[in-house]
């Protein structure tokens, strides 16, 4: 089997002395959606941050399109084509929607109007509110701004840390639809989710983490059907 | 061991000053160094134990100075009769207006009506206050303006003013802390910077209180320090001095200064003893826990803001106490000499250089930086003229000689920056 497009391989590390990740492997293929689920404290967000370089790895490596990027800083990974949407504080609240998108494209020196139009097509509501301060928007709209900002660099991989935390179920469905749409455009999606069931439904690949290690790895559908997974992590 | 060495080094500096300059100067510097060390101890409580940044040291020290005037200055019955009670009534009324406004604010519901009521209370209250206050002030200030013009003091022994100095500073610190603690840390710094300026402005302008810029001179000495002239006339002293072959005049000044030094040392040691005890009590451990992790301490149910207020008030009281000691040693209150660089920021340099969080560090810093500051004042111009002696007479030379005093600011700033950068825990770090 060929190398996946993005892979964090056998990652071990943590913030302080104690390791949070223990040989954890996360990968995503081009244009696919990979979802990380698991109980609280399993190291889901930490695993994603490790892939993005926000965590020092004691061992393991991260490959993007075959290139070893383990030593790169998050900023450098953005330049390499990775987009990251943090769970909180993921927009510039005092700036307008349009300025948020412009800041997302800060590294680009070419014309960004085309990308911006694509994002407005994806999230039409943002076009209406583009002159409004992002901090004044509703929770769901803020998440759209956050995703839009990350897309402005035209990333090859988009990483989302619990994008549906704190939004209503309707907004969540809507957001997942958009995420599928983004993946169809050829962008790989790596996502951490609390709402495991809904997330696995749209996932091409699912990772169930427990205590910083892979417990189950399979396609989203297979995980949904696995009785062990259902019983332990999806509530029956 | 290292600490002993550092203190020995400072002792050598003072002894050296005594041998090579004069003992009078050395003792002068020592006394100011001891006073600065006490102030530094107060600031160290706030900064070292609680991480509070107080930039109003000058104001608290000046309040201590005011206490000396209120307690020890001779009474001015004429001045008091002219309007003393009127002034007190005016001030009481002013406080009543503030209380009333607070009540209106708390009791009434938010809205235009409340704003209107507040406006009326404050405006009417302000003019009524001025109507009560101003005539009495004018009356008091009209009594013998050349020598008095103030309400006078109580004529009590000077030493009693020291605790009052602490109390005045504590009250001011409480008010300021109440407003600005619990907000972000910068606000305390800005607010204390402000209160210090206000205290000095009040002292400069309210002639009825302490004669303003006309200065309050001739304040009595604290017990048990005698006056030099009395010593020189005392047969016992003359005999004693003659027995050792001392010149009675210089011996008397030295003895007076030594007495001050002893008195100040007693206070200094008492403050250290008390604060060491406090620091090692459960209360002290809690303070340090709060300083090291406010969030965690708050989560454990500690009243962080309340504790901060406590330590802020206590530390400021120590500064006020020392401020009173200084004024009673000087025998005069001259508001014009209070300068934030000398009284606030110099103390800060002492705390940081000495070692924040460590009482002995603060003392070392006080004595060391105090020595540096004053020795540069007395030898700086001389050094500058030696440096410039090779230069021909001219504007540049005289300019350089004139600017010698400002070198102190530059030097202190550089020392502060260097210590913060390379030895942020100071000469004697916290244990």
């Amino acid at each position: 089997m060929a190398e996946p497009f993005l892979i964090g391989e056998r990652m071990t590390g943590g913030y302080g002395a104690a390791d949070i990740l223990h040989g954890c492997t996360i990968a995503v293929e081009k244009g696919e959606i990979a979802v990380i689920v698991g109980p609280n404290g399993a190291g889901k967000s930490t695993a994603m941050k490790a892939v993005f370089g926000m965590l020092h790895l004691r061992s393991g490596r991260v490959l993007l399109d075959g290139e070893d990027i383990t030593a790169l800083s998050p900023q450098d990974r953005v330049a390499k084509g990775m987009g990251f949407v943090p769970q909180t504080s993921n927009i510039f609240t005092s700036m307008t929607v349009e300025e948020n998108l412009e800041m997302g494209a800060f590294l680009r020196r070419d014309d960004i109007s085309g990308t911006m139009e694509q994002i407005y097509d994806l999230f039409p509501i943002l076009k209406d509110k583009r002159r409004q301060a992002a901090g004044e928007l509703s929770g769901g709209q803020r998440q759209q701004v956050a995703v839009g900002r990350a897309l402005m660099t035209k990333p090859k991989v988009l990483m989302l840390d619990e994008p549906t935390a704190g939004v209503s179920p309707i907004v969540m469905d809507e957001l997942f639809d958009r995420i599928i749409e983004i993946a169809r455009a050829g962008i790989s999606i790596l996502m951490v989710e609390q709402n495991a069931r809904q997330a696995l439904e749209i996932a091409d690949k699912g990772y169930v983490l427990v205590q910083g290690a892979n417990r189950f790895t399979d396609t989203g559908q297979a995980l949904m059907q696995d009785p062990d997974v259902r019983r332990s992590f999806l509530g029956g | 061991m290292r600490n002993l060495f550092l203190f020995a080094l400072v002792a050598v500096l003072y002894l050296g000053t005594g041998f090579f300059q004069s003992w009078n100067l050395a003792l002068n510097i020592l006394n100011l160094g001891l006073l600065s060390a006490i102030m530094a101890l107060g600031v160290n409580m706030q900064w070292g134990y609680a991480g509070l940044f107080n930039t109003g040291i000058m104001g608290f020290a000046a309040l201590g100075g005011l206490a000396v005037v209120l307690v020890a200055a001779p009474p001015e019955p004429e001045g008091w009769a002219a309007g003393g009670w009127g002034i007190m009534a005016g001030l009481a009324f002013g406080i009543a207006v503030i209380v009333a406004a607070t009540q209106v604010y708390q009791r009434m519901r938010k809205g235009a009506l409340r704003n209107l009521a507040l406006f009326v209370v404050i405006t009417v209250g302000f003019f009524a206050y001025r109507a009560l206050f101003d005539p009495s002030v004018a009356a008091v200030e009209a009594v013998n303006p050349a020598t008095a013009g103030n309400i006078g003091g109580l004529g009590l022994p000077s030493i009693l003013s020291w605790p009052l100095g602490g109390v005045l500073a504590a009250v001011a610190a409480w008010a300021i802390g109440k407003v600005s603690l619990g907000l972000r840390s910068d606000y305390l710094a800005i607010a204390t910077l402000g209160i210090a300026e206000i205290v000095i402005i009040v002292l400069k302008n309210e002639d009825w209180l302490a004669r303003g810029v006309k200065n309050m001179i001739g304040l009595p000495r604290p017990w048990p320090v005698p006056y030099e002239v009395d010593l020189q006339q005392s047969a016992g002293f003359l005999e004693w001095a003659a027995g050792y072959g001392f010149d009675p005049v210089s011996a008397s000044t030295i003895v007076v200064k030594l007495l001050y030094a002893a008195l100040f040392s007693v206070v200094l040691l008492a403050v250290i003893w008390l604060s060491e005890r406090a620091l090692n009590s459960p209360w002290g451990r809690m303070m340090r826990a709060i300083r090291d992790n406010e969030v965690a301490a708050a989560a454990m149910g500690k009243d962080v803001t309340g504790r901060h207020l406590q330590i802020f008030v206590i530390g400021s009281a120590v500064v006020g106490f020392a401020g009173a000691m200084m004024t009673s040693m000087d025998g005069q209150l001259t508001p014009g000499t209070y300068n934030p660089l000398r009284f606030t920021f110099l103390i800060w340099v002492m705390v940081i250089v000495g070692g924040s969080g460590n009482n002995w560090g603060a003392v070392l810093g006080g004595l060391l930086i105090g020595w540096l500051w004053l020795i540069v004042e007395s030898v700086g111009p001389g050094v500058m003229s030696v440096i410039t002696s090779a230069m021909s007479e001219g504007a540049l030379k005289s300019h350089l000689i004139d600017s010698a005093p400002h070198m102190r600011l530059l030097t202190l700033g550089v020392i502060l920056l260097l210590v913060l950068r390379f030895s942020p825990r100071g000469l004697i770090p916290e244990k």
Binding site: Q75, V78, A79, F84, P86, S89, N90, I91, F92, T93, S94, M95, E99, E102, M103, G104, F106, L107, R149, T153 | G51, F53, T55, F126, V179, L183, R184, S185, D186, Y187, A189, I190, A191, L193, G194, I195, E197, I198, I201, K204, N205, L341, F345, W348, I352, D402, S403, H406, M407, R408, L409, L410, T411, L412, G413, V414, L416, L417, L420, R421
Partner: protein, 336 residues
Amino acid sequence: MDILNAIVAFTNFVFIPATAYGAQLALGALGATLVYGILRFSNFAQGDTMAFGTMATIYGTWGLQAMGVSFGPLPTALLALPFGILVTVGLLLATDFSVYRFYRKQKVAPTILVIVSLGVMFVMNGITRIMIGVEEQNFTDGERFVFTAREFKEWSGLNEGMALKTTQAVTIVTAVLVVAWLFWFLQKTRTGKSMRAFSDNEDLALLSGINPNHVVRVTWILVAILATIAGVLYGLDKSFKPFTYFQLLLPIFAAAVVGGLGNPLGAIAGGFVVAYSEVFVTYAWKKVIGYLVPADMAPDGLVQLMSTDYKLAVSFIILIIVLLFMPTGLFKGKSG
């Protein structure tokens, strides 16, 4: 009742001076608020940065005057401004490189940075005093007035005169131009936007590829420009004395806090709030009221709420009120 004369007196003694002073404070407060927004500490060296910039400009002015250059009716100091700004930019960038950068990398608590700025204040204070001394310097030249009280009386036929000092007119015009330029810069340029983004959400700004060193550098340059202009305008309008500039720290902080620390629009509003309050409270209203009420009701006293000696107290009271009732300021600043 003589409303027209009252308005003229009010404009002459209150409105014009307070507006000029407000503009000077606003520029100073803008500098302080920029540092707060980007570097996240209250810069105690702000007053002395203004003093340093003014001192450099004064030397430039003396140089120009010695060469016989003048700016016609306008103060020569305006021509020397670019020189003063350049020197101050150099000083601030050098300070950042040698002092602040180290602490930024350590990510120390803001209080430590405040203390560091205190050390910087000492050094700048010392440099300024060594270079120019502690005495008062008047360095304004050119025409003293745009129009004098007498010219105004002749022109209007009113009893009450109104004068507009050149320095006041220069202050207001310069402040408007500088503020307009600053807001254009912050709102429209790529660098300006990246500064706002950095101030708003540092982590996200870094994720977006914004270079923090560049942002910080530009911030210090802007601070140097604003502080020097504010200091020179204040010095032209009143006079230059290092200690006075140190004391400006209180009104400047009051202005920045009133407006909401970190908020440029707030700093401008705050500057005017503080300046107008100060002049309103310390002005003797006798004359204005005298025009408004019948002669027999004219006040005997000066009708002055507070003596001018207490003008710093006004800033302080405003500061306290803001801290008590709206710690984030009029415009939402950074957390209270």
